[in-house]
Amino acid sequence: MLKFSPVILIGGVLLLYGAVGAVMCLYFGLNQTGMNDYFPFGLWIVFDLVVIALGAGAFFTGFLTYWVNQKQLKDVINAAVVIGFICYSGAVAMLGVDIGQPIRGWFIFWHANIHSMLTEVSYCITTYLVVLIIEFLPAVIENRQIKKIRENRLLAHNFHEFMFIFAGVGAFLSFFHQGSLGGMFGVLYARPFAFREGILIWPWTFFLFIWSAAAVGPAFTTTIVSLTERISGRKLIPFSVKQFYGKICGWMLLTYMIAKSLDTLAWAFSTLPRLGLTFADQFAGGPYGAWLIWIELFLFGWLPALALVNSKVRQNEGLLLGAMILAWVGVIFNRFTFIVVSLAIPVLPFEKFQGYMFTWPELGIAVGLIGYGIIVYGLSYRYLPLFPREKELNPA
């Protein structure tokens, strides 16, 4: 209780800050943000893309557990689902404030433009959120008080029986919206910084975003679980599960880095020159220098990838966790670069570089999402069986 209350209190304060920001932005309009016509996307879209990538641990763990038969992941799947649920529901709520006419949000479904990557993102995120709610339900029903009722126990059992279907649907939907989030920027063929060639209608970023999200989602889940272990002082999952996650993350990140490096080279030496631009041009103005790319590729890309494929690194919990953190921070860098730097670079030769800085109400909504996550995760950990082997791993 002593540890639980401050955590919930911190979450509550952050959420309150977010609520104030949301009221300001909804009531007065998006003039309360730091965005402008040169930066139509800002902190919120970066946050959306980041949390959706980090929430990928849910679909990927579900896929590995039920479709690749990795049963040891059952020790962590509930936590992965809760983290995924927080990320996705938070992102959807955030988008509700981000659009200029929130009441018309449903127009995406009603007047859907099937050519738009954003349409696919909206459809898949919404439907996947429903899947996550269904995946979350059995854990809720297994609350000690709720499962005292026989019908609830039966319902939970039935959910478990059919969970492989939802895991499959979740993987399918996630595949497409993670891809479309990358596609959203890759298709901007009039924005050379973001534009990428690809296969048929899918730019390379479509595949890179899926692969990177699936690689780092489990790493983020492991980080949160390890943080929970640190705060609660209890062992929650076997170290072997973390090592397994590390191995998966390492090999996926390594293959991703090969693809990402090739993509960067093709963009710098083929796409840009064809449009009369050079790699240096793309980092010529403002605070966003080429260092962003180098840091993303090497410090947050190749380094954790090479570390995690090494079994000796995975045997050391500190190194394992450190490499995993580097991996998911790399995806934050990647999403930030794709959104903010893409918009910052002027395409018209006589246009000037414009800067962007978020405002306090804008920051509040992003921070509020973190507060919301802390509360939902904290309550879930306290009242739901997130870690089935917790008792076994912590003999009294």
């Binding site: 309009g29 200029g100 006419q101 449009l275 395409v347």
Partner: protein, 267 residues
């Protein structure tokens, strides 16, 4: 997204930069014609944010005038003005393809890229997609000082906060011309019209019309050896053409590698 069905009609514009004096009449005429207001105030009490009209990154300007120069010191310094309406891109229109709620369309007849304000959800993906910065988002409620609402154009709807708007080649004037033709028993497909900016230009630097009509001024201008378009390498195929006899102005129209610039100078 589809190619125009009517291959006899394609609205376009041509702007002679050698004639443009940068007077701004086109931009003012556009503001008046299309009911572009001022920024409303936002916030309350001490949080009151006074809408800053000098913050042009949040102003609604359908026709922006850029000042460009050749970067040379006096006496070789040269400057020019470049009015930039929406380019009404004809190929895979960047903004149209990305809009999730089909709130912006490229008309199959005439090729005008228009915005449906009441369908726009304000996601601003189109603003991000447009390399010409031709799209403006309504960050504020539009404000019309008392009395000025009497001068609003009844043929153009005012826009609400939270939606994107842009130049539509004075589409309403085309509608009016068609209505008039139908009323007078003429073929409404044969009508021509003029935009407010072209009408207001005192030096005749802007012409507007049907690019598919070989006899039209705009078609002739667009075929001039002096003509070029902005960012042609991207492949957006703008329907706005610029004309100039000065190579340095032409080079501002697109991005060039150093080797390309050198060969252009020689050529």
């Amino acid at each position: 997204m589809k190619a125009t069905h009517d291959d006899k009609l394609l609205w376009g514009m041509a702007i002679d930069l050698d004639k443009c004096t940068g007077c701004g009449a086109c931009s003012v005429a556009c503001q008046a014609e299309n009911n572009i207001g001022f920024k409303g105030l936002a916030g309350w009490g001490r949080l009151n944010l006074v809408a800053d009209e000098s913050d042009k990154l949040r102003s609604i300007t359908w026709l922006k005038i850029y000042r460009i120069h050749n970067g040379q010191p006096f006496p070789d310094y040269r400057e020019a003005y470049l009015p930039r309406p929406c380019m009404h891109c004809d190929h895979h229109t960047p903004c149209v393809s990305v809009c999730p709620s089909t709130a912006t369309t490229r008309d199959e007849e005439g090729g005008i890229v228009s915005q449906i304000y009441t369908r726009c959800i304000g996601c601003r993906y189109c603003v991000a997609a447009c390399p010409y910065h031709a799209r403006n988002f309504n960050w504020f409620d539009q404000h019309f000082p008392p009395g000025s609402e009497n001068y609003l154009n009844p043929d153009v709807s005012v826009r609400m906060r939270g939606v994107v708007e842009k130049c539509h080649f004075c589409h309403h004037r085309w509608m009016l011309a068609r209505q008039k033709a139908a009323h007078e028993g003429q073929d409404r497909h044969q009508v021509t019209y003029n935009t407010a900016c072209a009408e207001a230009c005192p030096t005749g630097a802007i012409v507007f019309g049907n690019l598919k009509d070989p006899g039209s001024e705009v078609a002739k201008w667009s075929k001039s050896p002096r003509a070029f378009r902005l960012l042609e390498k991207l492949g957006t195929q703008p329907k706005v053409w610029y004309l100039t006899s000065q190579e340095w102005i032409r080079q501002w129209g697109d991005n060039y590698l150093e080797s390309e610039k050198a060969s252009a100078r020689k050529g």
